[in-house]
């Protein structure tokens, strides 16, 4: 994965608007958060292969942390803390945020076909 290139990702978001897409959206601080440090609150969520469609969307932020918002007919998709995108993916938009240890914290992925 490469550090996010804002202009390139904005183009990709524009290309994928107005079509049914499968989404994988995830935020996690890890299943071991409270085991490793009792003061931490273990929290995670993910949604995988829900079908969404957005009319417009954008990416903003300053390196290394970016935010993405996608406006749907009846609501929004929002993700903060994205740092990387997968440069080898052409049909799908694969983004993630990694912490200083390289652990995944957040993921936002859009695809015209379901994720495995």
């Amino acid at each position: 994965m490469l550090p996010i290139d804002l202009e390139y990702i904005q183009q990709r978001i524009d290309q994928m608007k107005d079509q049914d897409l499968y989404i994988h959206l995830e935020l996690t601080n890890g299943a071991y958060a409270a085991h490793n440090d009792a003061s931490r609150h273990p929290a995670a969520n993910f949604i995988k292969n829900a079908v969404i469609r957005y009319a417009h969307g954008g990416i903003s932020g300053v390196s290394p942390y970016y935010r993405v918002g996608l406006k749907m007919e009846h609501g929004w998709i929002y993700s903060e803390g994205l740092t990387h995108y997968e440069e080898t993916e052409n049909d799908r938009l694969i983004m993630a945020g990694h912490d200083k240890d390289g652990k995944l914290v957040v993921a936002l992925q859009l695809s015209p076909y379901p994720f495995e």
Binding site: T28, G30, A31, Y32, H35, A38, F46, E86, I94, K103
Partner: protein, 223 residues
């Protein structure tokens, strides 16, 4: 003090764990010991650990490539231990506690039926920190409970939640795996996307023995 109460020959061993790498630190030495003594070992790994946060250091995996990478790491870990019968059951990481119980228990019961194990290794439900660990152990316990008492295999469980020894007491089985720490270290190193342990490469036999020479289990009691 090591109380090595297990028999390692003529056993049919079934290991039921949810994630590739769950075997490495906990039970890989004991499995190598069973195999060295001619016992059979089947490892049923419920998921591909596809929701793991670790992506390698430096980063080399992503959410898309991780399942395939972890599948290969698991196969490599099994080769390091000597396991030839690996079953990947195809459940999804993080979902074991929510999985359809008939489907989950059915998959585990089918393995027990097929293999007729003398001993099963899994996590101790309620004392194994990760919800998938607890749910996997609970499913194994349910499946074994459903068997007539005379057909029940021994169930040895791994526990590591904070304060678990105060509640469970000390582990009743401690296995001396000093002769198998090389296999154990190789199993750990197989999971390159999850563990970065460069120090193991140059660790001496003695270092490995002091770090990994004993594995600990609690035997689950059935009424």
């Amino acid at each position: 003090m090591i109380t090595d109460m297990e028999r390692f020959d003529n056993q049919r061993v079934l290991v039921v764990l949810p994630h590739p790498d769950d075997e490495s630190f906990s039970v890989s030495g004991s499995l190598a010991k069973y195999l060295k003594n001619g016992s059979q070992v089947t490892y049923a790994c419920l998921t591909l650990g596809q929701m793991a946060r670790n992506m390698g250091s430096p980063l080399f995996a992503n959410r898309i490539t991780l399942p395939e990478i972890r599948k290969e790491e698991l196969a490599q870990s099994c080769r390091a231990i000597g396991i030839q019968d690996l079953r990947m059951l195809g459940f999804h990481d993080k979902t074991i506690e929510f999985e359809d119980r008939e489907l989950l228990d059915g998959a585990i019961s089918a393995l027990i039926e097929e293999l007729n194990p003398t001993v099963i290794y899994t996590f101790y439900p309620g004392y194994a920190v990760h919800p998938d660990h607890d749910a996997t152990g609970a499913a194994v316990v349910r499946c074994v409970e459903n068997l007539p008492a005379e057909r029940r295999p021994v169930v040895r469980a791994m526990a590591f939640s904070r304060g678990c020894e105060e509640i469970l007491g000390p582990p009743d089985v401690r296995v001396d795996v000093k002769d198998f720490v090389k296999q154990k270290a190789a199993s750990i190193q197989s999971h390159k996307s999850q563990f970065w342990v460069p120090e193991l490469k140059k660790a001496s036999q003695k270092d490995l023995e002091s770090r990994f020479g004993t594995e600990r289990f609690w035997t689950i009691k059935f009424d």
